[in-house]
Symmetry: C2
Subunit: 589 residues, 2 copies
């Protein structure tokens, strides 16, 4: 049940696929050299493996518990969070002026993966805090930024996102929480929020809630929602803590997984209204919340990769050890470790290939985000931003859907032992199941991909990416390596399948919206399958080129790319068939 971060693969992706050298050439990121990246990743790997990973399974057995409004987190979480904070991890990618280290998100991504692989429940607290920092950084007033961001970066305080209400899940238009102006620039917030991750806990001195609510006479729907900062404890001018605010944790949920992460129901305003501060403009709360959500959506995609890798490592260790049955090829008269059996190899190979492909896709997206943020060239910023925005729903949707499949395969590799909770494999299967739901379900991601990311620009970004896929196809064609030609045919078919799907969506969205949105999830899965496969093809080419540096590593990479091509890329035409048939075939719910 240990976890060893795949630092070598991570660095390979950073350096050869995701453009770390280009990012390190950006103004402000000069320190993000490959050497720095390696040092940071190795330190992060130690913390994740030594401190967080051992707490993961015990915390599932003895999860966070609510008592009388307070939440006691799982054993060891408090001390681990202290270590996390003191080592400065929370500030890694945040600006130096606020006490952060100003490293690019591209280096932050593997560290986030490690944190989540080691302990998904624990990692949610920093994940949400990051989102709150981002939102304040972008939309908060100078006073709010000054008073609240610093203590969140040091880990003294943490942050939350308060969107969901009992009647308002995916549909934020239905939010009913209220904000009453006091007259002095502050507001009194009241209402009930549910599913608030780390909405209450004992890891930090204060909790900075970012809360969506409506002003009196605000327009109906999403155009009447404002964002407020509501601290658990009020903060004095000098930054010290004052009185308890009017927000109470009335319960936490009994969940399928991530049991150590407290999911709170928060009651605001039972005693006259919680004091809140407007973030951004009135009625424009969703703008700021979307910043937070986009950061969080990408981060949840990385959680998918993380849990997939953890499940893979767990299953791999078991398969190397468990002896059962003679090999089908007659190569031994004795029973052998099950890793030698073809179907176990298929399962582990698929788990590995999906994980590595997801990782490459996500880090490539992070590279675009850094370039979109920091490139000195305005045109380049725009271009990278468009690609990043196209890829975020795919990273979120595809990497989380695949994580459920991978975690399920991990249970299967263990046979009967996989179903016993003590083994630990079942926890990943349970934990992973939230990932396709929170921060926007797969359908929400898919609708975003269809609507805002494909239709709005007439398929321009989609086609630009497909043109890049074709360049990789040409490079595969030019390569003399036999693995390159094995990769070529499935990549070409997948690229062509995705291209057909894009055309279908553009042609039919206006006339047949139900068919197109009914095919949105298959379209997202097709895009993910193809674009992650494209990264594996790029990885293959890079490994062929650099094989001499580390033959064992690169040979494994070349084989993993083939495994992806056989087991996953081959499914792309079938997904396109679903999209293209959506207009003609009936659906019977």
């Amino acid at each position: 049940m240990t976890y060893q971060a795949p630092v070598k693969d991570m660095l390979f992706v950073l350096n050869h696929l995701a453009g770390l050298p280009e990012v390190a050439a950006l103004p402000g990121f000069e320190e993000a050299t490959p050497d720095t990246a390696q040092a940071v990743l190795e330190e992060s790997a130690r913390f994740a493996g030594d401190v967080l990973a051992p707490l993961n399974h015990p915390a599932d057995l003895e999860p966070s518990a609510w008592h009388d409004g307070a939440v006691a987190t799982a054993p060891g979480f408090k001390q681990a969070f202290r270590q996390y904070a003191e080592a400065g991890w929370q500030g890694m990618t945040h600006p130096v002026e606020y006490g952060g280290q100003g490293l690019p998100g591209l280096i932050g991504s593997p560290c986030s993966e490690m944190l989540n692989a080691a302990n998904l429940s624990f990692a949610l607290c920093p994940l949400l805090t990051n989102g709150a920092i981002e939102a304040l950084m972008t939309a908060g007033s100078p006073e709010l930024r000054k008073r609240y961001i610093g203590p969140m970066i040091t880990g003294q305080w943490t942050g939350t996102m308060n969107l969901t209400e009992p009647q308002a899940g995916s549909d934020l238009a239905m939010i009913r929480s209220r904000a009453q102006p006091v007259g002095d620039g502050t507001y009194r917030i009241s209402g009930t929020k549910i599913f608030i991750t780390y909405g209450e806990h004992d890891l930090a001195e204060n909790i900075v809630h970012l809360v969506l609510a409506r002003l009196p006479d605000a327009p109906e729907g999403v155009k009447g929602i404002s964002l407020f900062l509501v601290p658990k404890f009020l903060v004095n001018e000098d930054g010290t803590l004052g009185a308890r605010n009017d927000v109470q944790c009335v319960s936490i949920e009994h969940k399928l997984g991530i049991k150590a992460s407290p999911t709170a129901t928060l009651q605001f305003g039972d005693a006259g209204g919680a004091l809140g501060y407007l973030v951004g403009q009135e009625n424009r709360g969703l703008d700021a919340m979307f910043i937070m959500m986009n950061a969080a959506r990408y981060a949840v995609g990385v959680q998918g990769i993380a849990i997939a890798d953890r499940a893979y490592q767990h299953a791999l260790a078991y398969a190397a050890e468990r002896v059962q049955s003679r090999p089908v090829d007659g190569s031994s008269r004795d029973a052998v470790p099950i890793i030698q059996h073809p179907d176990v190899r298929r399962m582990l190979g698929t788990m590995r290939a999906l994980t590595e492909a997801g990782r490459a896709l996500a880090y490539v997206t992070a590279g675009h985000a850094d370039l979109a943020h920091a490139s000195p060239d305005g045109e380049a910023r725009k271009r990278h931003l468009a690609v990043q925005e196209f890829l975020v729903p795919i990273v979120k949707g595809w990497c989380t859907e695949m994580s459920i499949d991978v975690a399920s395969l991990g249970v299967q590799v263990h046979g009967g032992m996989g179903f016993i909770e003590e083994t630990g494999a079942a926890q990943y299967y349970r934990d992973a199941r939230i990932l396709t739901i929170y921060e926007g379900t797969t359908a929400i991601q898919a609708n975003d991909l269809v609507g805002r990311k494909t239709l709005r620009d007439g398929g321009a970004v989609a086609r630009a990416l497909l043109a890049e896929v074709r360049q990789t196809e040409e490079a595969l064609e030019a390569s003399a390596h036999p693995a390159a030609s094995l990769m070529l045919a499935p990549l070409r078919r997948a690229g062509s399948a995705l291209s057909d799907a894009v055309d279908f969506i553009l042609a039919n969205a206006a006339s047949h919206p139900n068919a197109v949105f009914g095919a949105a999830v298959p379209y997202l899965l097709l895009a993910g399958t193809t674009l992650a496969g494209w990264q594996m093809a790029r990885a293959l080419l890079s490994s062929v080129a650099h094989r001499g540096d580390d033959p064992a590593f690169h040979d494994a990479k070349i084989a993993t790319a083939q495994c992806y091509a056989l087991h996953k890329l081959s499914q792309a035409p079938g997904l396109a068939a679903v999209v293209l048939g959506a207009k003609d075939y009936a659906v019977q719910p």
Copy 2:
């Protein structure tokens, strides 16, 4: 959280697809008319819905508990089991001479589905008892049959299968439990058995364990294993219970799902050896155990359909009720029940289509089993037996794999509520996860399908079934109904894909065993996808023909067949690509 058995669909499958009229024409099954079937199914539906279904979720929260060697089952289980026994359900398909009702397995299958849909944990006890009855019926001596079968049929006693040991899971060759002949025809059994479903409980007076063990000087491997009947309480000549036998339940497992079904570790022979009776011949224990296992494998496939249907019904009810977001086609300015959203329709439609396709495939298999058992024509018996044996691993493997997908979709339909245990959707996701593991993992089923069912007869049965698929294609081609032509193309591609895979397996098994067995699971999934799709095509044709009888029912069936074609049958060529590429592509575990 109620369950309403889909009696109408079940009867449609029995009468129009699975050959109930032919079965009712067999000697001994004269009473199995469509009217009897309907009456039995309706009564079974009442029992399942009224008595068992309400116990399912509470039993998950308060599962079976071990104390000092005894197991207390979940609240209400004892009384429900009494009702089950007194109504005669356990004996439904067993011979009249032993106190059963002698109905065909074809009528037993839907009743078994209902039982499992209502309460999977409960239903495991009758499922295992059925297996024990089958094994004794086939291999037990007249004395053992006389003494043990009757009380199992009345539900006074229950039965178990004792195969697994800590070092012997899929690999029965590694069994170490010992049987020492006493000299009077009985044996003393010692050893440890794990994962014994209902190995200890309080539902019945006695438990009849069927135990695999080795005689002294037995050959190594599977050819040295014998089967023994080891009762929990010894049975006197007059059938009354005597002393407690030397078998103890030392613990039960803490599992991911089916928590109310006690999974026991049994210790045999700590006090000198448990008294056991040989079943069948010495060293031929696997022959009898395989009878039991084949019955159980089919039954587990039905469990997959059952849990899929329960998950579907649960999600459907939620989707009809939960209001969220406006429709994408602009047909309403208000938020609507989510069942109106295209992706929710896709998910529910897929769940329904997979469930109904699995049901049809399974019941068709049961029809072959009845014909194999009771046909007066020896050639016909042989032919149906071969088809049944080909289909059993597919029913087990495919229906259980799909049940995990369906249960996972069920969670997804619920959004965040799906992750909260109180909702109930998560229980199906946890419960379903055992189905691809016990009674032989999907890989074990796939190896059986490749080795004993495809290679051994040179692909004869596979090709005979494919010829029948082509007949259905011709019927679709001949039909003027537009849905028939939509079904034709995907069915034809799937049939051709399966045909290619069969050819590949036959051509390469000897020369490339690792590649072929590494493709065994994709082959099984391809076979299931295609053959279940074939049943949906047959259903479509039948519904077109009988539409006038019940237009709403048949229109839904025709739409469901299309949904299956679009979302599942379309994936068959991709699965074939995996099989056909197995020789060329590397695998990197």
